[in-house]
């Protein structure tokens, strides 16, 4: 089977991908890279253990990016994204930030974690990587939507 034949004719855009600062899970990161490339996206993959500043720097180099996708599988997403408001205030990372990983929805505790992630300025929270292409399409052109809107969408996905 030639997976390349499934790719879109024209690139739907560029995505900056990486794993949060304290997290070294490479396999899921590479799988998502494969999946996005298969859907035609250009991917700048910053890899494991990437501090938020490095995402900001990459976005400075690729301001056309559709989104910054940050994987977090080790439960430290809040700490690893703590600087997002400060970076945004400094005019950096002015594009949708999407978090993905093992953030289980349902329990009281994780529900609060999700809200706090949205408070930090995260645009979307994705649990199933298979949803990513659809969600990226919904994001459209760079510029974040309102927090409440994002929260509502996040809850209903």
């Amino acid at each position: 089977m030639d997976i390349r034949s499934e790719r879109a004719e024209r690139s739907p855009g560029l995505v900056i991908l990486g794993v949060a600062k304290s997290d070294a899970h490479a396999v899921a990161n590479r799988l998502i890279e494969m999946q996005l490339r298969q859907h035609g996206y250009d991917v700048v993959n910053l890899g494991v253990c990437t501090p938020l500043e490095d995402f900001a720097e990459a976005h400075g180099e690729h301001p056309e990016a559709v989104a910054v996708l940050i994987g977090s599988l080790n439960g430290h997403a809040l700490q690893d994204l703590a600087d997002l408001p400060a970076l945004r205030a400094a005019g950096q990372l002015d594009c949708p930030v999407v978090i993905g990983g093992n953030l289980s929805v349902g329990s009281h505790k994780s529900e609060r974690t999700l809200e706090r992630l949205f408070d930090l300025g995260v645009e979307r929270i994705v649990e199933d990587p298979a949803d990513l292409p659809r969600i990226l399409k919904q994001l459209g052109r760079p510029r974040s939507r309102s927090r409440t809107d994002a929260l509502a969408v996040g809850r209903h996905e």
Partner: protein, 472 residues
């Protein structure tokens, strides 16, 4: 780290060098009559045609490590491991020392540099069989110096295999130079009659590794090692789970050694029992461990690194490891001596594997500066591995299992493979008639979880067993 002490050609941190005995003492100890040597055990296993079994093992405390080695000796391993903690792997020797004094239980291995070479010698006396250092350091020069002083005669790693799966951003030139120095010391020792076994970590990222990529990496590391005078190599290949493919890959190792390494070096193929997502039930886990032993024997491995039924749940306890040693040993032994394999199918795989490996390495080996040429090939994607933790490999290759369970290339990325190789890979991955298309990420994910699915099917109807009995 600016000023390094030159110890017989290897640059060592001054604080580490200051603790070491004189070079002549190190050599005398390595030549001592009582010291068990890895190369002797490997030769014996190769001669018998039955692989020796070696467990992984490493705990922080010295007393606990001595006890563990003594306990595992009961299982009859042919070699034993001293697995090193993460801090020592990253040359954070002070942190390792601090943790050793305050929270030794939290170390995920034995901090040999912090313990020092004298305690290392005690380890070699605790076990009846030779020891090997297993770690994952892109730069293991200090660790190697201490290991030599301890009288440890086998050392795992290489400039590619101990970089790309373990480090995010260590340039390949840097790791290859650090390992060149390690190999050069082995060369010097060989001249005075001390043969150090150098195992090469072809397992790489341990997940769905296409055999040709594993073989290509160990061939390149082996060529670099032999050029520095290394006389004993143990190239390791990770069990993928399809027996014909695994046996073929192991049997390719001596063929490739004859083609690329010359006659000066002894080469002992090693099988690492399945390193991916492991079955969760003791029943199925044990069966896979048994199969690993058998595949190792049929593939001509001199050594099999065993797994344990607790693999799915973390680092095994000593009892589980003992059972793993015994079961792998039974699989490799005379009980299954009657088992033969479809030789024509294995030969077909071997034909293609040798060809694929050559297509990957020949151009790199044709250059005049091997470390630079290896780094350039990875930079260009002409060498690549899936699921790299390092930014210095593209990871554009996409591996996938065919319907027999063998690992193939669904996307070769920029690997310089010929049209006939690529056509065969594509043909083998063709879906069966009427099969519904599956998204790539789901297919690769399912292939990673291959043995969980097979376990569920095999044990269906016996629901009591599909629990977490293996959890320690």
């Amino acid at each position: 780290m600016s000023e390094l002490i030159d110890l017989a050609g290897i640059e060592v941190h001054p604080a580490v060098a200051a603790t070491l005995p004189a070079w002549s003492d190190i050599v005398d100890h390595l030549l001592g009559p009582a010291l068990p040597r890895a190369v002797d055990s490997l030769r014996t296993a190769a001669r018998r045609g039955i692989p020796l079994i070696q467990p992984r093992s490493g705990v922080g405390g010295h007393g606990e490590m001595l006890e563990l080695l003594e306990a595992l000796d009961e299982g009859g391993p042919g070699m034993q491991s001293v697995t090193i903690d993460s801090h020592t792997r990253l040359r954070q020797f002070r942190t390792a020392e601090l943790m050793l004094s305050e929270r030794p239980d939290e170390l995920n291995g034995y901090p040999l540099v912090a313990h020092g070479w004298r305690r290392g010698r005690e380890l070699t006396r605790a076990s009846a069989v030779p020891l090997e250092i297993r770690h994952g350091s892109p730069d293991a020069r200090d660790l190697f110096a201490v290991a030599l002083a301890a009288g440890i005669t086998s050392f795992e790693g290489g400039g590619i295999g101990y970089n790309l799966p373990y480090s995010k951003d260590v340039p390949l030139r840097a790791s290859l130079e650090a390992w060149r120095q390690v190999d050069a010391v082995c060369g010097r020792l060989a001249e005075v009659g001390v043969v150090i076994d150098r195992e090469l970590f072809g397992t790489l990222t341990a997940v769905l590794m296409p055999p040709a990529l594993s073989l290509a990496v160990v061939v390149l590391e082996a060529v670099a090692a032999v050029r520095e005078g290394v006389r004993c190599l143990s190239p390791a290949y990770p069990q993928g789970g399809q027996a014909h493919q695994d046996i073929a890959a192991l049997r390719c190792i001596p063929l490739l050694a004859r083609r690329y390494l010359g006659a000066e070096v002894e080469v002992f193929p090693v099988l690492h029992e399945f390193m991916g997502v492991f079955p969760r039930t003791p029943d199925y886990a044990d069966a896979l461990i048994l199969q690993g032993g058998l595949v190792g024997r049929l593939g001509g491995a001199a050594k099999v690194i065993n797994k344990t039924y607790q693999e799915a749940y973390g680092i095994p306890d000593a009892d589980a490891n003992l059972r793993g040693i015994r079961i792998a040993s039974l699989g490799a032994g005379e009980l299954f001596g009657f088992v033969t394999i479809d030789e024509s199918r294995v030969e077909e795989e071997m034909h293609w594997l040798v060809r694929e490996t050559s297509e990957l390495v020949d151009e790199v080996l044709a250059g005049s500066d091997l470390p630079a040429d290896i780094a350039a090939a990875f930079r260009a994607g002409r060498l690549d591995i899936p699921f790299s933790a390092s930014v210095h490999a593209h990871s554009r290759v996409v591996p996938m299992r065919d319907r027999s369970g063998a690992i193939r290339l669904a996307d070769p990325g920029r690997l310089p493979l010929s049209g006939s190789v690529l056509r065969r890979q594509a043909r083998l991955l063709e879906a069966g008639p009427g099969a519904a298309p599956i998204p790539l990420i789901d297919q690769v994910g399912a292939d990673i979880r291959h043995f969980l699915d097979r376990e569920r099917v095999a044990l269906a109807g016996n629901t009591r067993r599909i629990t977490t009995e293996g959890e320690p």
